[in-house]
Amino acid sequence: MKKEIGTKPGKALWRSLDEYADSPEFRTLLEKEFPNHAPELFHSTSRRHFLKVMGASMALAGGLAGCHWPQQQILPHTSRPQGRAPGVPVTYASCWEQQEVAEGVLVTSYDGRPIRVDGNGDHPFQNGAATSQIQASVLGLYDPGRSSEPSHDKAGHRVAASWDEAAEMLRAAGRAGKVAVLAAPSSSLALAAMRKRVLRQVPSAQWYEWAPIHRDSERLGTEQLFGRPTRPVADLSRARVLVCLDADPLMNHPASLAHSSAWASLRTSADDDEPLLSRVYSVESTLSVTGSAADVRIPARTADIARIAAQLAAATGVPLPADVASIVAAAEPADQQILQMAADLKSHPGNCLVMAGDRQPGAVHALAHAINIGLGAAGKTLRFAEVERGERPPHIDDLESLANRIRSDEVETLLFLGTNPVYDAPAINESWDDLIAKVPLTIHVGDHEDETARACQWHLNGTHFLEEWGEGRSWDGTITLRQPLIAPLYDGRSCIELLSLLLDDKPKSGHDMVRAVLEPWAGADVDASWRSWLHDGFIPGSSNAVDSAPEMRGGWGAALESAMQAPEGDEIVFLGDHSLFDGRYANNGWLQELPDPITKVTWDNCALIAPSRATEMGVKTGDLIQLSTGGRELEMPAFVLPCMNPRTVAVALGYGRLLSDRAAGRLSRKPSLYQIADGVGFDTYQLRTMEAVRAGYAPVSVSRASGTYELATTQDHNPIRPDDFMGDLEFNEEQRRIGEFARVVETGFAPDAGDVAAQVQEAGPHHPALESLWTEHEYKSHRWAMTIDLNLCTGCSACMVACQSENNIAVVGKDEVAYGREMHWIRVDRYFSGDDIDNPEVVHQPLTCNQCENAPCEQVCPVAATVHNEEGLNDMVYNRCIGTRYCSNNCPYKVRRFNYFNNTKSPSATEQMGYNPAVTIRARGVMEKCTYCVQRINSSKIRAHNERREMVDGDVLPACAQTCPTRAITFGDLADPQSQVSATQKSHRAYKMLAELNVKPRTSYMAKLRNPATGEEG
C-alpha cells in the first residue's frame, strides 16, 4: 500500500488530550519548563523556620575546622578469596521468579554487594534482556522497610523473637498436625519436594496456593481442549500475523522477554527483497503495551472477547469439536474488522497465531488454540509443553477450600509462605482478617510485615531472592539455578529452609536441599555438574517435553456459551500494574516513580476511562469518580486514556498498601518513614470480588464524585513544540511539521526500502542546507553513537530502571515529579497520533542526551562544567557545576536533569550498599544527564589498552541497550565501519531528531513502520 506523499499534512503527534486540545494548561507547560515551580524553598514563612534553615547553614560553615578532609580507612580482607580483586565487580548467575516462571539473571556484585541485576544471555530461553521489575529487584534487597527479625504477639504486644523460639514453635506445630499452608505458587523443584514431605509427614496437612494474578484460565483452557493441562509456548518470530485477544504477550506475560525479542525479529524492514514485516492485531478493552505496539487495534469489552473469538473461529472456518462448533455457528455475524482479521490469518497458514489473555476464561483460550491448530500453527508458531503438577486446582478454588476448612475448624496452624491474602485476596463470605482470627496459630513468612503479617500471631522474616539458594523453571521448563549473592542481611530464612525447620529436628540448609533435588539431573561427576550449572545459571537440556500436535476434544461448548453471554453495560477490569505487578513491589522507589508505560502516571493508580465516556460523564483527568461493583465501592481519580473501550473502566492492582499500621494495634516494627508504599494510590483489591477473579471482569457502575486528586504524570513534561522556536521560518500548511520527532511510516507486509526512505525524509521539516558558524571538529578516534529503533520500542521502560540502577539516579517523590523534577536520564515519550481521539495510534520514543557535536548546552556553561570530549561524548563534570541551569535551558531535547534537593543526603545503611561505586552520587545543585554510560566505556577502554588490543563492537553496552528486550537501542563506534551502529545510522529509516537545528546529535532514530490492514487481504 503506498501512501500518497505530500498531499496530506499527515498526523501531528500529541502526548495528552490537553496537548491535542492546546488547552491553556498545556500552554503553560510549554512556556515554562517547571510551571508549578514553587519559587520559595521555604513553604512556611515563619521566622522560626527561616532561622532554623539559616542556622543549619552556619553550622555547616563551621565545619571548616580541620583543614584536611576526614580520614578514610582501608580495610582489606584478612584472607582474600582467590581471584577476587577489591573494587572489581564480579558477575554471578541466578534466577528471578514471578508468576511461577523463572528468568535467568546475571547479578553484578561489587565487593560482595550485589548492585545490578541483568538478564542472562546464555540462558536458552532468553536473550540477556531484563524487564523493569527484574532491574529494580536489587533495590528490594536493600529496602530499609524489610522486616529484620521474627516477631510474635506476647501479652497484647508485638515483640521480637529469636529464631530458636520460632523453630521450636514450628516444630511443635508440625508435630501437632492440622497444618494448612497457603503458599505463593512457584516452579521450584525443592519447594515441590518440601510440599510432598509436608503432606506426608505432618498429620492432616493441606497445601494451598494463591496468587492474585495468575494464568489459571490458560491452564484450564488447555485442559478443556486436550484433556490435560499444558503450557502454550509461542514462537513469535514466525508469526507473520498475530492476533491478541485481550492479551499482552510483550509485557504482561511470564515469557514477555522471549516474546519481545521474537516479535522484534519480524519488525525489521526489508533491506533486500524478502518481505519481513508482521502485522499485529490487538483486540482489547484497555490500552496495553502490546496494543500500543500493534498495527491494528480494536477496542472491545473484555466481556465481549468470547463472542469475538467465536466470530473469528466462524470466519476462519477451522474445524471444531461438535458441541463447540454449534455454539460458534450460533454467534452473531462478525463485523468487517473481524472478517479482515480472519482473512489475514487464513492467508498466512502456519505463520499466524492467536493469543488469549490471562483475564479471559478457559473456554476462550481453548477456542484460540483450536483456531491456531486449525490454521496450522501447531509445531510452527505454537508448541504445547508439559507442565509440572498438572492436577493442581485453580488458585481461586484453593482459596475457597481453605476458607471452608477454617470455617469448619479443621485448621490448627495456618502458615502463609509469601502470600498476603488480607491485602490481595477477595473476601469469601468474611474478610481474611476474620478468617485468620479463627485459627489458633497463624504464622506469616515474608519480607515485609505486611497486612497479613499484622493479622497473624507470628511473623518470620524471609529472604530476598539474592540471599537464598533455590531454583525454578523458565517458561519452557529449563531449570534455572539461584545462588545467594550475599548472606541474608537480616538472618532470614528461605521458604524451603523454614519448612525444614518445621519438619526436621536437624534443619537442612537451602544449599543442601537444592543440590539434593537436582542431583538426578547430574552426570557421572555430580560436583562438576553442579559447578557448571552454577556458573551457567541453568541446567542445559532440562526444558519440558513438547507436543506439537495434541489431539483436540470437545466438552467445553457449554463453558464457551456461558462466556459469550456477557451482560450489557459497563465493565471493570483489574490489571496487574506495569511496575508494581500485584503490589509486591509497592515499597520499591524505582518502580513507584517509574512512569507507567501507557499513562505515564507515577506514584498512584487511577481509573482509566475512554474519552467519549469521560465527555459523557463530564469528567476529566484527576476528577474523582465512584466505582461500585459487587456491593463494594471505591472513589478513585479518573484518567482519560485514548484507545480505551468506552464501556470499560480499567484499574491497576497493587496500590493502597499499608505496611505500617498504627491503628491495628499491631505496629509494624520498622519506622513508617521507610514504608514508602503507604498512602500511595488506591486499594483496588477491595473492589475485586470472587466473581471478578473468575470471570476476568465484573459489571460496574461509574458515577462522578466530588473533588479532584492530583496525579503526578510525566506525559506532558518537557514538551517540544518546534513552531514556537522556528517561528521565523515560513511554513505553510503543507510544509508544516508532520510527526517529525517520532516518524511513523505506513506500509505493508513487504515494505519497499526506497519508498520508506522517501517517506521518512518527507516526514521531517524542510530546511535549508545546514552550515556551521565555525570549523567543525574532526574526530580522529572512537566516535560513540547510538541508534534507537522506534519500530522495536514497545514502551516497556526497562531502560529507565536499568539506567537508574547503573547511574545511582535518585528518587524524588510524587510532589517533585508533579513539578517536573523527575530525575530519569532516559525517558520514554509516548505519543498519540491522528485525529481520532478514541482510537489513535501510539508510538513510543526513548530519549536520552543525544551527545550533540554542536551542543547548545556546552556553549553556555559559565564554568565549563559540560564540555565535549575527543570521542564525541558530552562530558558532565559534577564537581564543577554551580547550578546556573543555563545548559538545561538551552537543550532542545530537555534531557538534562537538575538536583533541586539533596536527594541522597541520608540514605539508610542498606541503601548505601546498593549504589554503583563507578558513578558519582550527585548532591544538590548539580546538573546531570545521560553519559552514554561513560563509566562502562572507560572501563572497557582501559581493559583493552592494558591488554594492548583494540576495542571491538559489542565491548561496550550502556545499561539501556543491554536491557532492552527488543534490542531497540544499538550502541557503538561510528569510526568502525563494521559496527552495528554504523550500519543502522545509514539505514533508509534513519533520521536525527531536530537535525535542522544543526546540533548534530550522535543519536539517530529509525522510523517506525506500521502495517495497517487495508481490506485487501484474503
Binding site: 583543614c67 580520614q71 580507612q73 580495610l75 580482607h77 584478612t78 573494587g87 570521542e871 562530558d875 558519582t920
Partner: protein, 231 residues
C-alpha cells in the same frame, strides 16, 4: 567654622590608613587562602599514624620486595590493593613471631577482622583514578608516590591536585619509562632531561599518544578530557 567640625582633620588620615589596611588585609587573606589551602600545603607531607608501624624502607628498600608482591592488583584493577593480613602472615608466622609491633596483624588474622589502615593518598570521591591504566603504560610508582622504598612511615610527597595530575597528562614524556622498570624506584635517576624526553617520546609513540612525526594524537587529547577521570 563657627562650631567644631563633625569630622576632625585627623580622621582623614585615619580613613586613608584604614583603606590601606583593608587592602593589605584583603590581599593577605587571599594569599593565605591560596597558599595555605593549596594541596601543596595541605596534602604534601601528610603522614597519618598507621596501626602497624610497617616500614617500606625495611621491606622494599633493604629486603628488596617488589611493590607487586603485596599490591597485587595494581596491573589489572583500579585499586592497588593494600594486602590482606594473610600476605603479612605468610612471612611473619615464623619471622619476628613475638614482636609487639605485629600485634594488630596477628589479632586480625586470628579474629578475621581487618587491620584498619589509614589512607594516605586520598583523592576526592569524584576522581576515578585507575592504577592499571598508569602502571601498564610505563608510569612508575615513584612518579606519584615518591621514594617509598626509603620511607619508614608512608607519607604523601606530591600534592596530587588536579593541576599536578594535568602537568603529566598534558606532557607525559618525561614521566614514562619502559614497563618492566615501573617498580624500580631508583631507575633512571641520572638521566638528563634530553634523555628523558627522547625515551618518553619513544614510549608515547608505542602507546599511540603521538604519531610518527611527534604530533599529539586524539589519544593524548583524551587524557585531558574531563570524563577520563570524572564520571
Amino acid at each position: 567654622m563657627s562650631r567644631d567640625p563633625i569630622f576632625r582633620p585627623w580622621m582623614d588620615q585615619l580613613l586613608k590608613l584604614l583603606g590601606a589596611g583593608a587592602a593589605v588585609t584583603g590581599l593577605y587573606v587571599v594569599l593565605m587562602v591560596y597558599f595555605g589551602l593549596s594541596p601543596k600545603t595541605l596534602s604534601a607531607g601528610y603522614m597519618p599514624q598507621q596501626p602497624v608501624p610497617y616500614s617500606h624502607a625495611l621491606h622494599v628498600g633493604e629486603l628488596g620486595l617488589d611493590c607487586r608482591y603485596c599490591h597485587t592488583t595494581v596491573e589489572s584493577a583500579a585499586f592497588a590493593a593494600v594486602p590482606p593480613t594473610q600476605t603479612c602472615i605468610n612471612c611473619h608466622e615464623k619471622i619476628a613471631p613475638t614482636s609487639h609491633k605485629l600485634d594488630p596483624v596477628r589479632d586480625s588474622f586470628v579474629s578475621g577482622l581487618p587491620v584498619q589502615w589509614i589512607k594516605v593518598h586520598d583523592l576526592p570521591d569524584y576522581v576515578y583514578f585507575n592504577h592499571s591504566a598508569h602502571v601498564t603504560r610505563g608510569v612508575s610508582c615513584v612518579e606519584c608516590h615518591g621514594r617509598i622504598d626509603r620511607m619508614e612511615e608512608v607519607h604523601q610527597v606530591k600534592p596530587l591536585s588536579m593541576g599536578w595530575c594535568l602537568g603529566c597528562h598534558r606532557n607525559p614524556a618525561s614521566h614514562l619509562r619502559p614497563v618492566d622498570r615501573v617498580t624500580d624506584l631508583d631507575w633512571g635517576l641520572d638521566r638528563t632531561e634530553e634523555e628523558k624526553a627522547a625515551q618518553g617520546n619513544e614510549i608515547m609513540k608505542g602507546l599511540g599518544l603521538i604519531d610518527e612525526s611527534g604530533h599529539p594524537t586524539a589519544r593524548l587529547t583524551l587524557l585531558t578530557n574531563c570524563s577520563t577521570c570524572h564520571r
